[in-house]
């Protein structure tokens, strides 16, 4: 097992280096010249030269790349043009707000998704099953941002029950967290339902029933434990959905998190912040991949020996 984890760690490190390289070349070669963005149009050639030297942009590309990687290793990704602070710090100040919203949505989605998924697999065709399928279809077919807008229209503008923007009281969490959880709920419900249906049809479940194990134990211990393997995978997709969702939901509800920050930074051409966001999200994805690989190897020992 330690050897397996080490191997995965090395792969994760290589992935990060590859991603850093792609991001460096994309932003550096893509015409997003920070000097041109930062200086006012009436700047003299001398100003341009000074700033170019300050950013080290006069050096050869290879030297710039080496410098970028060196700085990245120490967590230095340049200063935000807008806040004149390290881009990394700007992002981190806004991260807790996103994390709180994301966690609220995640646990809500897990709770609803798993319980609806399992219940509908246990009794297919029941009212909950039908409701679950309708909800899953809706979660896939109705865009999150439109649900958000409709909620604002109904509860914010027409009924005036809930605050439509910002973060303060618990009431502020209701609409954004609900919106953010819709797609994950649909995903988790669909996947846990099909995984449970498969598991309930298996021979070990039949065996447990023959032995006279109580039905609840059959479902939760024998079937769900095995069905949980594919459900773990869905965490990948849920995570991706939460990231995209947070950009959307934070924009709609003016939530002061990193999703709204990155959109604002993009439109003010504050590219260091955008760059840090991209790297940060990729880093989270790589770490999550690693974690899931390890959890997998723990749940299913066959994987380690491949």
């Amino acid at each position: 097992m330690p050897g397996y984890i080490l191997k995965r760690l090395v792969i994760a490190a290589f992935t990060m280096v590859a991603v850093l390289t792609v991001v460096f070349f994309a932003f550096r070669l893509g015409g997003a010249d920070p000097v041109a963005i930062m200086l006012p149009p009436e700047a003299t050639p001398k100003d341009v030269r000074i700033l170019t030297e300050k950013f080290g942009l006069d050096k050869p590309l290879v030297a710039q790349y080496a410098n970028f990687m060196k700085n990245a290793a120490t967590g230095d990704f340049g200063k935000s043009f807008r806040y004149n602070e390290p881009a990394f710090r700007v992002l981190f100040q806004r991260f807790p707000a996103t994390l709180q919203l994301g966690l609220a949505a995640f646990f809500f989605a897990l709770l609803v998704g798993l319980s609806v998924g399992i219940t509908s697999a246990v009794s297919p065709g029941s009212l909950i099953d039908r409701f679950g399928r309708l909800f899953a279809l809706g979660g896939m077919s109705i865009p999150t941002f439109w649900v958000g807008i409709m909620l604002i229209l109904l509860f914010g503008v027409t009924l005036r029950w809930l605050p439509v923007a910002g973060r303060g009281t618990a009431l502020h969490y209701l609409m954004p967290a609900f919106c953010l959880s819709l797609y994950p709920i649909a995903l988790i419900t669909r996947l846990s339902r099909s995984a449970m249906l498969d598991a309930l049809k298996s021979e070990y479940v039949l065996m447990a029933r023959i032995k006279g194990v109580p039905e609840f134990m059959v479902v939760m211990l024998h079937a769900f434990k095995n069905a949980s393997i594919p459900v773990v995978t869905v965490i990948f997709s849920v995570f991706g959905a939460l990231i995209v969702g947070s950009v959307v939901v934070e924009t709609i509800f003016s939530w002061p998190g990193i999703g709204r920050l990155v959109i604002e930074s993009f439109f003010t051409r504050d590219y260091p912040v955008v760059q840090v966001f991209v790297l940060f999200v990729t880093f989270l994805v790589v770490m999550l991949n690693l974690a899931v690989d390890i959890v997998y190897a723990y749940i299913d020992p066959r994987i380690r020996y491949q």
Partner: protein, 292 residues
């Protein structure tokens, strides 16, 4: 009445209704969608880009201040919402089909190589696919939009680069089982090159799955592209992209509810149509295939 009795339980079995299982709602949504795509020029009552500045933000016709000639009202520039929605269907279809063709080709090629060659190449491609799927498309969109500027093209490029793993997986799976079949072995005995076996013996056999997957995925892509346009990272004004219409209408949400309601409904109709029909097609044409 066509009833039979089950030999063992003695219960009555009803014969399935004629047309049972056909997704009428989905097909109706699709019909509406394609009707607007095909006849947008004929059925749109107004020019989608020409504003009538005397009639800005008119509510829908059935409201008190509504005007009969603007059925779903007008926007802040006096453009007819209905006409813009009708023309928007074309953009929606064009972008999503563009995306599918783009990443579908990448996915099919990689899937064929992966499934056919096997071994290390296969493992590498599949690991890459796993990782690729976990990357949120939006971060690639940010990079590409910073480099190329936000536009509908950037969206197609982003999804084109990001979408291939699903296709690669399905094609690989099919390829693995087809590889064992006699006609592939015979082709090899007859001296066909690997390339030729892949293109003229295996590919025709997986076209079905490729088309089914496209029908299933197109709904999700319409939602994704609309989301990207909504964020301002996609189609730019004065385009009548549905996502962009929602973004523009959002500023007037306090008094012009129709600007944020109808574009969303249009998206739901299109996506529901593709999703329901896609699920049905899959069960009809390929019951054994399970797509995640």
């Amino acid at each position: 009445m066509t009833t039979a009795t089950d030999a063992i339980t003695g219960k009555k079995i009803k014969a399935p209704r004629v047309g049972a299982g056909i997704p009428w709602l989905g097909l109706a949504c699709l019909a509406l969608f394609f009707f607007t795509v095909l006849f947008a020029d004929v059925i749109a009552p107004h020019d989608p880009f020409e504003g009538d500045l005397l009639n800005i933000t008119l509510p829908p016709a059935w409201e008190e201040d509504g005007n009969r000639s603007y059925l779903l009202g007008t926007d802040m520039l006096g453009r007819d919402v209905l006409s813009r929605l009708i023309h928007g269907s074309r953009i929606s279809l064009l972008i999503s089909v563009g995306c599918i063709i783009f990443y579908g080709s990448i996915g099919v090629v990689l899937g064929l190589i992966s499934g056919f060659t096997g071994g290390r190449t296969d493992m590498l491609i599949m690991r890459l696919a796993d990782f690729w799927m976990s990357l949120p498309a939006i971060i690639v969109l940010f990079i590409l939009a910073a480099v190329n500027g936000p536009s509908a093209k950037t969206i197609v490029l982003t999804i084109g680069i990001m979408g291939w793993p699903n296709y690669a997986r399905i094609v690989r799976g099919e390829c693995l089982s087809l590889k064992q079949r006699d006609f592939v072995r015979l082709a090899r005995v007859a001296g066909c090159s690997n390339m030729r076996i892949m293109v003229s013996h295996i590919l025709p056999n997986i076209i079905n799955s490729i088309i089914i997957l496209a029908t299933i995925e197109i709904g999700g892509i319409i939602v994704l592209t609309a989301t990207m346009s909504f964020l301002g990272l996609g189609a730019q004004p004065p385009s009548c992209d549905w996502g962009l219409m929602l973004a523009e209408g959002r500023q007037y949400i306090t008094y012009a509810w129709w600007l944020v309601t109808f574009p969303g409904l249009a998206i739901v109709v299109a996506v529901l149509g593709f999703n329901l029909t896609g699920d049905w097609l899959r069960e009809l044409l390929d019951p054994k295939q399970k797509l995640r």
